[in-house]
Subunit: 264 residues, 2 copies
Amino acid sequence: MHRIVLIIEYDGTNYVGWQVQPNGTAIQEVICRALKKLTGDELSVHASGRTDSGVHARAQVAHFDTLSRIPAEKFSYALNTMLPGDIRIKASFELTGDGDYEFHSRFSVKQKHYRYTILNAPHNSAFTRNTALHIHSGLDLEKLNAAAAFFLGTHDFLSFKAAGSKSKTTIRTIYKSEWFRNGEFLFYDVAGSGFLYNMVRIMVGSMLRVGMGFESPEFILRALENPDRENAGDTAPAHGLMLYRVKYDEFDTEQFLSKAYLNI
Amino acid sequence: MHRIVLIIEYDGTNYVGWQVQPNGTAIQEVICRALKKLTGDELSVHASGRTDSGVHARAQVAHFDTLSRIPAEKFSYALNTMLPGDIRIKASFELTGDGDYEFHSRFSVKQKHYRYTILNAPHNSAFTRNTALHIHSGLDLEKLNAAAAFFLGTHDFLSFKAAGSKSKTTIRTIYKSEWFRNGEFLFYDVAGSGFLYNMVRIMVGSMLRVGMGFESPEFILRALENPDRENAGDTAPAHGLMLYRVKYDEFDTEQFLSKAYLNI
């Protein structure tokens, strides 16, 4: 049996998210269908985590087990001939278990990195309309970063968890939390041990209240200290969010991607 | 009568080009419809030039005449509420004639700048699939630039003109013609007094033969010296091409756009 790992990029605009849902097409479903065509088998594909409807991935990680003798590196090329243009396999390789341990896209994750993109300009753009949230009013970068800094470290993120999330614990550790500007674009980069359902989008929605001047940066501190969803801000729209990078002991998705990529 | 100028950005993927065609929706048509809604009048909208089906614009320029008392700067905001997301008005302003002379989006053009984008990587990208040509084989940047340099100056571009073009003269002047690389992306920037039908795409298609090693850079020189369409290469696909900038005596579209924009 071969455990094949895929590094997947997708434009989530036309999908209900990674996981199969009754109300539309899921990315997982499209990849399973292509694998069925390629190997003849119904294979289970496990990702590093779900992404919501409309959320994008620059580097989603998924794996499946197969008896197929197709060389691991060939899967990316073969799948790309079958997949729609908004889902691309950037790399494929085999990771075999060593005794008791087996690599797992979800359970072996060490760190996940998301990026949220905002176009802060008078008018929206025809080109980034599906990948950046357009905000025409002014945003204070210094205040956004003061707010973002409160997330660093280990906290109870209950205030930043959507209803319906079934996580056992709401404690998470954030390693990186910062905003930067490039021309009319504002980027929020956040890396953590893991994220609750809608957590990044609620973090962004809460910080935007600070960046727009409705709240002081301490709004974030209070929401962390008083764990209740009512103490945080709105959930920012899905289309600005991108799963940017996933790190494992075995590899870092960055190894497979160009440095300059999407670096607008 | 007010002559209103629009700076227009569009993702050309879903259109038959700027100009009205029998076989699909034109960008001109969509803008005219929005203006009709806004002013109540059927207005003629003139652009700096046509763009083909699938070609994009970062800064197309167009104008129309109206008796409407809507302040010129308000047109961009009002039109954007009515236009689809893949067409955005980045700015609107009034340019009134001074005696005999009247500004005209097409006849007053001093310089046009196009950009052609190539993703030179093993796999295509979900995000740039409609705005960059994917080429997985190696491209020699030095040879591309040696080829591009032959275009500089004033030449007969008959070899680089599509059949069906009705231009009076095939003599054009090129001010800038260069390739540069940013990560996995290759960009070709060309600025000239004006361009024949399909001219940039045939120039790119011809240079790609050089960059791939099928021809030496002098292939371009020979095509310029022996004006016949058969002496140039193929027409590169439309989706990599973007109308990037237009210069007039009165203004330069760059004044209205962020420097960092699409600078991947």
